[in-house]
């Protein structure tokens, strides 16, 4: 292991007694209880990773029990008052964001089956803690880059629900004018760089945005630019060349980026363990000289802790981090996936670890919110999502004239016609009826 502080760590072991294995076995226990106030995991103690033991159900993942090798720090048992991981305001914000994500995706399913949206639609149910935990730790100027499972990333980043729903309905008021669809959510205003259908192809784009930050600071000498980029992608992507190529470049040039793996164990119907020789994705960070971190992705506060750490590390110029979030999608890969391969035992194991239910419990038990507060939030979100549907329904379809408008940023790219004029000056062009 490298002597530098870039050695792999597993952050999920916030105290010696909690291992990632335990939270899988205790299907019923909330993994948010038992937090200790503690110093940053990145400067913390060394951990030894052992594998092999711990329970593994038929499709359970290989145990990755983390135990501290140093003598446990003698800390007094946590008192409720010690736990200050979120303020009430922050807690409500996180809760609202997760509810928005869940409610929106549920509405998408309904709308899809009512033939309001089409094609391939990939829902995020169950993974809300990752999007909320990470994106809510960002500043407005920071960038995110996603995959086809991008609705909730867009919402967390601030793209209005109306615009996302309209885009899904294929209307002109969608965030991409109806031209992108479910898998291609973009927002210049909210710094969402996509929305990509091919796995892995967004990672270099994210890496480029991070490169831009470094370039702006070091070449253009603009120190006001300190944007961090987050790249979200799944377990299947981690076997793809672009993943490794970008980890290499980001580490080489210390780019301000965090690579967030949403490991939900399945790439459509391909079990992560059938596809991957070394299933511990976080370990691969070390191969490139960056910290590789594993976190319980069903726990928004744990995700947030890791996120804040990784983002701060990137922002101060120390380079990239690879974060593997253990998470699960409650629905199939897409709305067209019959989801027949995943065993009920596995689904149930994760169903009881619903990040929203867990966080709700946490907020209530720690007196950060009342039932009424949370009900009010749920009602507010219901209204937002209903409004989004109404707005999308009422919005116009893109007119024919829109067909050719965005093929080129500079429409002279359509060339010079036989009459000597640029094609884009042809009136049939603006009507969308010109042939190109």
């Amino acid at each position: 292991m490298a002597a530098s502080s870039l050695a792999s760590r597993a952050v999920a072991s916030l105290s010696p007694s909690i291992s990632t294995g335990a939270s899988r076995d205790d299907a019923g226990s909330s993994s948010v209880v038992g937090f200790h106030k503690r110093s940053s995991a990145f400067t913390g103690r060394r951990v030894r990773i052992s594998s092999g033991h711990g329970s593994s159900a038929a499709h359970g993942r290989r145990s990755c029990v983390v135990a501290a090798t140093a003598a446990p720090v003698k800390e007094s048992p946590p008192k409720i008052a010690d736990i200050e991981l979120v303020t009430r305001e922050e807690g409500l914000e996180l809760y609202e964001d997760m509810i928005l994500g869940r409610c929106f995706e549920d509405m998408c399913a309904q709308m899809y089956y009512r033939s309001k949206m089409f094609g391939f639609v990939h829902l995020y149910n169950g993974q809300e803690a990752v999007s909320t935990g990470f994106v809510k730790a960002l500043k407005k100027d920071d960038y995110i880059c996603s995959t086809y499972r991008d609705h909730v990333h867009a919402l967390s980043k601030g793209v209005p629900a109306r615009q996302v729903m309209s885009e899904l309905f294929g209307k002109a008021t969608g965030c991409c004018r109806g031209q992108g669809g479910s898998m291609h959510m973009f927002s210049k205003e909210h710094r969402l760089l996509g929305g990509f259908a091919f796995i892995g192809e967004g990672i270099p784009v994210a890496t480029g945005a991070a490169f831009n930050t470094k370039y702006s600071r070091e070449v253009l000498k603009d120190l006001s630019v300190d944007a961090v980029t987050l790249a979200f992608f799944g377990d299947g992507t981690c076997n793809n060349g672009q993943f490794f190529e970008c980890l290499n470049m980001a580490a080489l040039w210390k780019l301000p980026i965090v690579y967030v793996v949403e490991n939900n164990l399945w790439a459509i119907g391909m079990d992560h363990f059938r596809a991957t020789s070394v299933p511990e994705i976080w370990k691969k960070g070390e191969a490139f000289g960056m910290p590789g971190v594993h976190v319980d992705g069903m726990d928004v506060l744990k995700v947030r802790e890791v996120a804040k750490e990784a983002i701060a590390r990137a922002r101060r110029g120390d380079g990239p981090t690879l974060v593997e979030c253990e998470t699960y999608r409650y629905r199939g890969h897409s709305l067209a996936d019959p989801d027949e391969l995943r065993k009920p035992e596995q689904k149930n194991k994760y169903a009881v670890r619903d990040p929203i239910a867990a966080f709700k419990k946490y907020l209530l038990e720690n007196g950060l919110a009342s039932e009424a507060d949370l009900k009010a939030i749920e009602k507010k979100i219901d209204e937002i999502v209903e409004d989004a549907v109404e707005f999308a329904d009422a919005s116009p379809l893109p007119p024919r004239s829109q067909l050719l408008e965005n093929v080129f940023a500079d429409p002279r790219g359509f060339g010079i016609g036989p009459d000597g004029k640029y094609r884009c000056e042809d009136p049939a062009f603006t009507a969308g009826t010109a042939e190109v």
Binding site: V205, A209, N212, Q242, M249
Partner: protein, 398 residues
């Protein structure tokens, strides 16, 4: 044709290199054998209309031509590219270069020589060998505000970057509803070299031409290389600039003053009236070589370097066809699915009424370029074939 040893190409003679609106070359018009003449001859008036119509086009680069250049300096093509790149980098600090060996090595064809020393390692970025990812990185940087120039050490290597070039460079502006522009230039040497083997002898313009949202230009002289490089960098569209491995040492006198060429325009190389020859890149020089023979034999070919492979400059091409009624495309792409194939279709679609016969096309064979010199020569079009074809066309034998 080429000198022994290094891949040199003939020095361009200035008299054959005429920009638009220049005077016509006088050539011998002695008997040429039976010509099939149809259609109206080009009158003085329509010639005037043509040159004024050229000015009617929206925005065109007003490039100084060589006849009015005050002095000019002699330069090799790779250096002209470098000059253009350097000027743009000095002018705009967001212009940067990404590629393998572009920095400390100065570029495998010396196009970026000295730039890393002048502008720093971050502006002339030496990458690891990962074309798809560093091209994607260039795209992400371009989306967020930089103007990246991505070099493929050989164009063929960009096959590895096809994912990024097609989906992200070409299509992302559209799928984002116009929110993100991708002002990237993707450039590198391609084409058939001197016994470089099949994989280093590819013509990527065939493969990329279908990708919507891309512009493609090919340079062929130091003059247009520098002008197109500058234009491509300044364009907000993703542009692929095709250079040729064997043209880097072409020498020419280019203007001292700054000039930027128009990306969408073709270049009238030699006005004529018997046949329109459309060509680009290295084949331009083969066509010029064939033209010497043809002129001696009394033919008057009009030679157009199309330069813009996508989109085609249908105005320049069309005007020529309306004059000559015969068109021959000479390209280095393979017969199947090349630029010639697309150009023939465009000509048939747009200028059918002006054609005396089918548009002819001389292309490379549909063969992986062999290593052996004799076989390699047989896969690409040679000047002698061009002469034969033009004679056949002018004599009505095809």
């Amino acid at each position: 044709m080429a000198a022994a040893g290094a891949a040199l190409a003939p020095i361009i003679e200035n008299r054959l290199l005429l920009p638009p609106n220049a005077g016509r070359i006088r050539c011998s018009s002695s008997a040429r054998g039976a010509l099939v003449v149809r259609g109206a001859a080009l009158s003085e008036e329509s010639r005037k209309n043509r040159s004024s119509a050229l000015k009617a086009v929206a925005v065109k680069g007003e490039a100084p031509n060589l006849t009015t250049a005050k002095s000019g300096h002699e330069i090799l093509l790779f250096d002209a590219l470098r000059e253009g790149l350097e000027e743009e980098m000095a002018r705009d600090p967001t212009v940067c270069v990404i590629g393998e060996d572009v920095g400390h090595y100065g570029g495998s064809y010396k196009v970026t020589k000295g730039l890393a020393e002048k502008f720093g390692d971050l502006r002339v970025l030496d990458t690891p060998i990962c074309e798809n990812s560093f091209t994607g990185m260039g795209i992400g940087a371009a989306m967020t505000g930089l103007r990246t120039v991505v070099e493929g050490m050989n164009m063929g290597f960009l096959l590895l970057a096809y994912n990024q070039i097609s989906n992200n460079a070409g299509m992302l502006h559209y799928t984002s509803g116009g929110q993100f522009k991708i002002p990237i230039v993707i450039r590198g040497p391609g084409g058939v070299g001197k016994q470089l083997g099949a994989e280093h002898s590819q013509r990527l313009e065939s493969y990329f031409q279908s990708v919507p949202g891309l512009q493609m230009v090919a340079c062929s002289t130091p003059y247009n290389a520098k002008g197109l490089m500058k234009a491509a960098i300044r364009s907000d569209n993703p542009v692929i600039l095709y250079e040729h491995v064997l043209l880097y040492n072409l020498k020419e006198r280019i203007p001292d003053e700054e000039y930027v060429l128009c990306l969408e325009e073709a270049e009238l190389v030699r006005p004529g009236k018997d046949v329109t020859i459309l060509t680009y890149s290295r084949m331009r020089h083969f066509v010029l070589q064939a033209a010497k023979t043809l002129v001696e034999r009394g033919y008057d070919p009009e030679i157009i370097d199309i330069r813009s492979l996508k989109p085609f400059d249908l105005f320049t091409i069309g005007n020529s066809i309306k004059k000559t009624h015969k068109v021959l495309i000479v390209e280095e792409c393979m017969r199947t699915g090349g630029i010639g194939a697309s150009l023939r279709a465009a000509i048939v679609d747009n200028f059918w009424d002006f054609l005396d016969g089918r548009p002819e096309c001389l292309s490379s064979q549909d063969v992986p370029t062999p290593y052996a010199a004799t076989l390699e020569d047989a896969t690409v079009v040679q000047p002698a074939q061009i002469v034969v074809k033009v004679e056949q066309m002018c004599q009505g034998l095809v």
